[in-house]
């Protein structure tokens, strides 16, 4: 039983990181209906600069620098996308694929074969949660994720930006008539997504992973199923999806030997199978809004 519990705890802690990345997808999708395929590269961008600057300015300032740079990068992408007048969301999403190719090629070239660490304050230390041993860095990830998610829900509900975003998502023409600048809403969303990606990237490089390397953005791909399972336009869904995918991956990896008739390794592919299964049942994700077309 403790083995099962340990796997679940591992899954939840990994799932919190997926939630952070998935939230980035959702924030952009809610504001602009664009799926940002470049989220993984934005993660790499922010985390790379954290890794490069931490030895000079310390961990926390480095994280702030990383967030700032990733946010600027996200803003640049948003400006590029807004140049495409009248383009529909799918075309814009394909443009983000192009951005992803550019960014990830450049960043993986710079990272090369290095394994970059962040000198985070948690290091390799662990803490005991009852009978389970969890790396302190993961506990920090869970706490940070909880705080950020809470901040989001509050912002969406109460802040003027949140209201503007919800209004734009509902009906952007009416919102524009009410004086809501669509560009402002979209810029805000991309900035937030860039910041979230950096935070997630930092936690991807802390214990138990040895550091940031040139395949870190591929781990970010696993957050795709998380965002889709929850529903691309639901922030609550991002949380649910992230945790679900994290736990599923951890369990299938932990019980792989017993499930070996399904082939091996099961960890990565299980996330996508779950995604397909959920989409078959609910075509817009578990908590996404159903599209209704009236003919």
């Amino acid at each position: 039983m403790t083995y099962f519990g340990e796997l679940v705890i591992n899954g939840i802690s990994l799932g919190c990181i997926y939630t952070l990345i998935a939230l980035g997808f959702v924030v952009i999708f809610k504001a602009t209906e664009v799926v940002n395929f470049a989220q993984g590269s934005m993660l790499l961008l922010g985390a790379y600069f954290v890794a490069r600057t931490h030895s000079r300015v310390g961990f926390v300032p480095a994280v702030l620098i990383g967030i700032a740079i990733a946010a600027v990068g996200a803003l640049v992408i948003q400006q590029v996308l807004s140049r495409a007048k009248f383009a529909d969301p799918i075309t814009l999403s394909i443009i983000t694929i192009g951005v992803d190719i550019l960014l990830s090629t450049e960043l993986t070239r710079r990272i090369g074969q290095q394994v970059l660490s962040f000198d985070d304050p948690w290091g390799n230390r662990t803490a005991d949660l009852g009978p389970f041993t969890v790396p302190q860095a993961r506990i920090a990830a869970m706490v940070v994720a909880a705080v950020l998610i809470g901040a989001f829900f509050a912002a969406y509900k109460y802040s003027s930006w949140g209201v503007a975003t919800r209004a734009t998502a509902e009906d952007f023409e009416a919102a524009a008539l009410m004086g809501i600048r669509r560009n402002r809403v979209s810029m805000g969303a991309w900035l937030i997504a860039g910041a979230l990606a950096t935070v997630a990237g930092v936690f991807l490089g802390t214990s138990p992973s040895p550091g940031l390397n040139n395949t870190s953005n591929l781990t970010a791909l696993n957050a795709f199923p998380a965002a889709v399972v929850g529903g691309l336009d639901s922030t609550g869904g991002a949380v649910a999806g992230g945790l679900l995918i994290g736990v599923v991956q951890s369990l299938t990896a932990g019980y792989n030997n017993d499930l070996s008739f399904l082939g091996s390794p099961l960890g990565d592919v299980s996330a996508y199978v779950v995604m397909l299964a959920v989409l078959l049942w609910r075509p817009s994700g578990l908590f996404g809004t159903r599209e209704v077309a009236r003919v």
């Binding site: 040895p210 390397n213 932990g254």
Partner: protein
């Protein structure tokens, strides 16, 4: 409609006739381009003054560090060799192309160079070797694959420089039993990646476990996984006393970190590719130094042999700013072995592809100046050596590895029958 068709057909015929009349390819014979210098028969890639060898490696993709260092080591050797006269009075020239670990590119680049080189001095990448297997066989291209999987020993064109992964694992497990308190009845775990490399290492531990009465728990992962806490937790729950690793360097560091953090604290035994010195700078460094032992059939950068010393001096002189790793030494040893075969072919007065293959099977002992154990290629399907050394990770040593047990082969390793025994 008819006039258009007539126009089209007439145009086609005219163009075709015109084109064929000027075709220069028609004059190509497509086989030997050798100039027959002296009384030595020569094949493609051999001129009166040069022997051209191909190097198809990864200098920009996931194995760039390895590809670069191996190529550097080979160049150090061949530059020395050319200074002292070369082979058969010809200097050896390497035609280096980067395929970025991309299979389609590799196939294209191979097609590009196959008719202008005598053999492939380096062919890096398991999927690339798999994809080119047909071509290498039909071209009779004598190749050093950068792979130590015993399952490719059946290819008569492949020269594996060193022992194979399964033998590394077998020797390593024997060493753990002799020196780290592992005994019959214990459980060991093996984390290995999908593919030829991982599965070959696992083959070895399956054999060793069976013969030595150990319980083996295998755990297969993808090559890109970086968080191995679930896998280590799974092994911990089965009570393993040691973990064998046939993984990528990043994954090795992850396992070491979790090994220490979760309180498992068991020794880790890795195959030769699991370690790069950059890992010692990460947070997992102390755990690696404490737990990791690496088996390899060539000396690490800090080795004490004459060859390793020569390589260190040359490397420091040519590439003072770069971080060295064991790939340089293996690259040097591989080049030396390849040249030994070519020298024999030269003695046989036959520098064609067939001649090189014949010389290969006559090579019973390659002396690499201590860089590797003596290599014997006269038994098709069997590895050239069964000996490995064991090294421990150490940040204070140049190259990050220091030898704790010199070349030797355990009884289990000697009794092991390689999967391709007798074939090739």
């Amino acid at each position: 409609m008819t006039s258009r068709w007539r126009l089209g057909v007439a145009g086609c015929i005219a163009l075709a006739l015109l084109a064929s009349a000027c075709s220069t390819k028609a004059k190509k014979s497509g086989t030997d381009t050798g100039g027959g210098g002296g009384s030595v028969k020569t094949g493609p890639g051999v001129t009166a003054s040069t022997i051209n060898l191909g190097v198809l490696t990864d200098l920009s993709g996931v194995f760039a560090v390895l590809g670069k260092s191996i190529t550097q080591g080979a160049q150090i050797y061949f530059d020395d060799l050319n200074k002292s006269g070369g082979i058969c009075g010809r200097s050896v020239k390497l035609n280096i192309k980067d395929d970025g670990y991309d299979v389609q590119k590799a196939v294209g680049l191979y097609a590009d160079m196959s008719s202008s080189v005598l053999g492939m001095e380096q062919l890096l990448g398991s999927p690339i070797n798999a994809a080119l297997k047909q071509n290498v066989e039909s071209d009779k291209m004598f190749t050093i694959p950068v792979s130590w999987a015993s399952t490719i020993l059946d290819n008569p064109n492949n020269m594996i420089v060193g022992a194979t992964y399964d033998l590394e694992t077998i020797n390593g497990i024997s060493w753990l039993m002799k020196n780290k308190g592992l005994k019959s009845g214990d459980t060991i775990g093996h984390i290995y990646i999908q593919g030829e490399y991982g599965e070959n290492g696992y083959l070895g531990s399956q054999y060793a476990a069976k013969q030595a009465g150990l319980k083996l728990v295998g755990s297969q992962i993808t090559a890109t996984a970086t968080d191995l806490s679930s896998q280590v937790a799974s092994l911990k729950s089965k009570g393993v006393k040691a973990i064998v690793l046939t993984t990528t360097p990043t994954q090795t560091a992850s396992v070491a970190a979790v090994d220490a953090a979760s309180g498992l604290n068991v020794p880790l035994l890795g195959n030769s590719p699991v370690f790069v010195p950059q890992l010692l700078k990460t947070a997992a460094g102390p755990a690696l130094e404490k737990f990791l032992y690496v088996t390899a059939s060539w000396q690490p950068y800090s080795g004490d042999s004459a060859a390793a010393t020569k390589v260190r001096d040359a490397y420091k002189a040519r590439y003072p700013k770069e971080v060295p790793n064991g790939g340089v030494d293996w690259g040097y040893g591989g080049a030396l072995a390849y040249a030994t075969v070519l020298k024999k072919a030269c003695d046989n007065k036959d520098l064609t592809r067939d001649g090189v293959q014949a010389a290969f099977r006559q090579t019973t002992s390659v002396d690499t100046d201590g860089m590797l154990p003596a290599l014997d290629y006269s038994h098709p399907g069997d590895p050239a050596t069964r000996e490995v050394n064991i090294a421990q990770a150490d940040a204070a040593t140049e190259g990050g590895l220091k030898v704790v047990a010199p070349f030797s082969a355990s009884d289990l390793a000697t009794s092991y029958v390689a999967p391709m025994h007798g074939k090739g």
